[in-house]
């Protein structure tokens, strides 16, 4: 029982980071109807920026995070303007493949900075933890959960009450109508990319926290894909639930699979989210909270 609870706690802590990346995916999908495969690379780029700023430059960790997040947001704006804006109106599949190309390019640039070594994250949490009876709660997991909750509340308020948030919701609902109402749809695309990139950078910090950054770190960011599919592509609460679920499932498999399902091979927990995604999709093709697509001829 203790072991199960412990697994759930660390799974949720890890899942919080996945949720942040997944929310970025959903924000981009809602405004542009495209899945950006560049999110994992942006996540790795943000994490690398923080690692370099703290350890190499010697900046304060929180300041470094702020710089990285702002830089990621600006990069998101730039990428959208330079690469994706010319493609507005083209088939979504083509744009998705462009983001796949972007992913490769951003990753190469990031890897150039990471180099062959592993880079320490330089976060203040490390592997320190609180003992709560028989259970332990790692500081980094607590920080991830609290930050995720804070960011999600801020996002909720932003979408609910701000002018830009309203314009973004209008754009997500119907691009042409919102154009006719005076919304600058192009700016909304840019803002959603900036938001998504910033969220990815924050997520990168928590994925690197207590651990190190290397050339394979971006791989972790791909786990947000099963998360958004689980939750439904166009649902922000779905992305959060999906991200947490992916984290928990991964932790459960890491703890119990070698005992109960040894035939699946070692390290199955890494691919367990994808298996979970396939199972859920067979039952619910639009995820748990997604809106079924209305198809017209």
């Amino acid at each position: 029982m203790t072991q199960l609870l412990q697994t759930l706690i660390s799974g949720l802590g890890q899942g919080a980071a996945y949720s942040l990346i997944a929310v970025g995916f959903v924000i981009i999908f809602k405004s542009t109807h495209v899945i950006s495969f560049a999110q994992p690379a942006l996540m790795a780029a943000g994490a690398t920026a923080v690692a370099l700023l703290t350890v190499q430059v010697g900046l304060n960790f929180y300041l470094a995070v702020l710089v990285a997040v702002v830089a990621a947001a600006i990069a998101g704006l730039g990428i959208e303007r330079a690469v994706l804006r010319p493609m507005v109106g083209k088939p979504v599949f083509i744009i998705a493949i462009i983001t796949l190309g972007l992913d490769v390019v951003i990753r190469v640039i990031t890897n150039r900075f990471i180099g062959a070594d592993v880079r320490p994250m330089g976060d203040p949490w490390g592997l320190e933890r609180w003992e709560l009876g028989a259970l332990t709660l790692q500081h980094r997991h607590a920080a991830a959960l609290i930050t995720t909750a804070a960011i999600l509340s801020a996002l909720y308020l932003f979408f609910r009450y701000s002018r830009i948030g309203l314009a973004m919701r209008a754009t997500a609902f119907d691009q042409e109508t919102s154009l006719a109402q005076g919304v600058n749809v192009g700016h909304m695309f840019g803002i959603s990319w900036a938001l998504a990139a910033a969220l990815a950078a924050v997520a990168g910090v928590f994925i690197g926290a207590g651990s190190t950054i290397d050339q394979q770190t971006w791989y972790v960011g791909l786990k947000a894909l099963p998360a958004i599919i689980l939750g439904g592509l166009d649902s922000i609460p779905g992305a959060v639930v999906g991200g947490l679920a992916v984290g928990v499932v991964e932790a459960l498999f890491a703890t119990y699979q070698s005992t109960y399902l040894p035939f699946l091979g070692s390290n199955f927990s890494i691919v367990a989210p994808y298996a979970l995604m396939l199972v859920v999709l067979l039952v619910r093709p639009y995820g748990l909270f997604g809106t079924p697509e209305i198809q017209r001829v």
Partner: protein, 396 residues
């Protein structure tokens, strides 16, 4: 129409003549029958062009040194896989990021069937002539088996589901050590031995000594021609038209009586068959299979071949595959021209970027540039050139 009356003999004879391609003299572009229009080589230019390209292809082994021929052979193996991906993604419009899995299945099937019986990994010691079709068939069957799952999804959902398949497939390849040798070790690729003749060893045929790479070049070239013609025929058949209908508007296609699940299954099965053959051939040329190589990167490479070559064209797939095959070769020449590009993987000589990073970055940059600037790929570039000269000196 079921009620067509039989044409009079004279009409029928004219129809047959028209179908065989009798044309008015000097009217090269005038088609008098549907069959002429749909013919494989429907213009004199194509007839001469294809003949010239095949003749050039047969002559290449005597014009280039062995390492270049090996790149060509790899390119031909890639091309077969790219044609397969183009059938499912370009013609049938089902975006698949899972191609790498089927390439892997083909590679391991062929390797296991031809492998040493007493070797450390599974080996049955069969002939290549059995193993190669088997590689295609096994991959095709797996493609057929998973197609009911894939047929449920459209567009980007499908892309992510197939991405999931890549991760599961990679996991299985890494863990099934008795077949694949496991991470870091790997196993030998298929041995190309037919009737005691080894294609991967120098040999003498009709008094001419052929190097291993020359033979592998011919082996892959002949197979590529066979599979390219087969794919082209499939694409212009009723099945191919059904694919295009599904791609352009699946619901409309369904209303017209095209069974979506059936044709999607055909598309995935045929595409996987091609991928399996490509995998078997590639690792015959490359000799060593590493289970980590069937990941997302390989799928992206195949997507790049299709997009750079030209979506929904067979000749484009071949161009794109050769382009991607030669990309590492080109990037390795880059440090000579650009001193800031380093050949040292860890950049100890102070270079800005090394050739491997340059190669990876080029995949991405080329995909982006082609999609934005030339969406029809190399094939589209060729069309532009052709149409310019067709109308020369007029603009159109």
């Amino acid at each position: 129409m079921a009620t067509t009356t039989r044409p009079a003999p004279a009409d029928r004879a004219r129809g047959v003549r028209a179908a065989r391609g009798s044309r008015l003299r000097g009217r090269r572009d005038l088609y008098t029958s549907y069959a002429q229009d749909m013919a494989l080589l429907n213009t004199p230019g194509k007839r001469w062009g294809v003949g010239a390209i095949v003749a050039l292809g047969l002559a290449l082994p005597w014009m280039f040194v062995d390492p270049i021929l090996q790149i060509f052979a790899i390119g031909f193996a890639y091309a077969i896989g790219a044609i397969g991906l183009n059938l499912v993604t370009g013609y049938a419009g089902q975006v698949s990021l899972g191609h790498a899995v089927f390439v892997g299945i083909g590679a391991y099937t062929a390797a296991a069937l031809t492998g040493d019986v007493d070797g450390r990994q599974i080996g049955l010691g069969l002939q290549f002539i059995v193993a190669l079709p088997a590689a295609g068939v096994v991959a095709g069957l797996v493609g057929w088996a998973v197609s009911p799952v894939f047929a449920r999804f459209r567009g980007l959902y499908l892309a992510i589901v197939t991405l999931g398949l890549v991760f599961l497939g990679e996991h299985i390849f890494k863990e099934w050590t008795s077949l694949t040798g496991g991470l870091g070790a790997g196993r030998r690729g298929a041995i190309p031995e037919i009737m005691g003749w080894r294609f991967d060893q120098p040999g003498e045929l009709l008094g001419v000594t052929l190097t291993a790479n020359q033979q592998l070049f011919y082996l892959t070239l002949v197979l590529l021609i066979v599979f390219a013609v087969l794919a082209r025929n499939l694409a212009r058949s009723q099945v191919g038209r059904a694919f295009s209908a599904i791609r352009d508007r699946d619901i409309a296609a369904e209303i017209m009586g095209i069974k979506l699940s059936r044709y999607k299954a055909i598309a995935f099965a045929v595409s996987s068959f091609y991928a399996g053959i490509a995998g078997a051939l590639f690792y015959t040329v490359n000799t060593q299979i590493d289970p980590a190589s069937f990941g997302l990167l390989l799928s992206v490479q195949y997507i790049a071949m299709v997009l750079i070559g030209g979506v929904a064209t067979i000749s484009g797939s071949i161009m794109g595959a050769l382009f991607i095959a030669f990309l590492p070769f080109i990037t390795r020449q880059a440090p000579i021209l650009f001193p800031f590009i380093s050949t040292d993987p860890s950049l100890r000589d102070g270079g800005l970027i090394n050739v491997f990073q340059l190669e990876a970055a080029l995949y991405g940059v080329l995909i982006i540039l082609f999609l934005i600037l030339q969406p029809r790929g190399l094939f589209g570039l060729w069309l532009k050139v052709r149409n310019y000269w067709k109308g020369w000196p007029f603009s159109h």
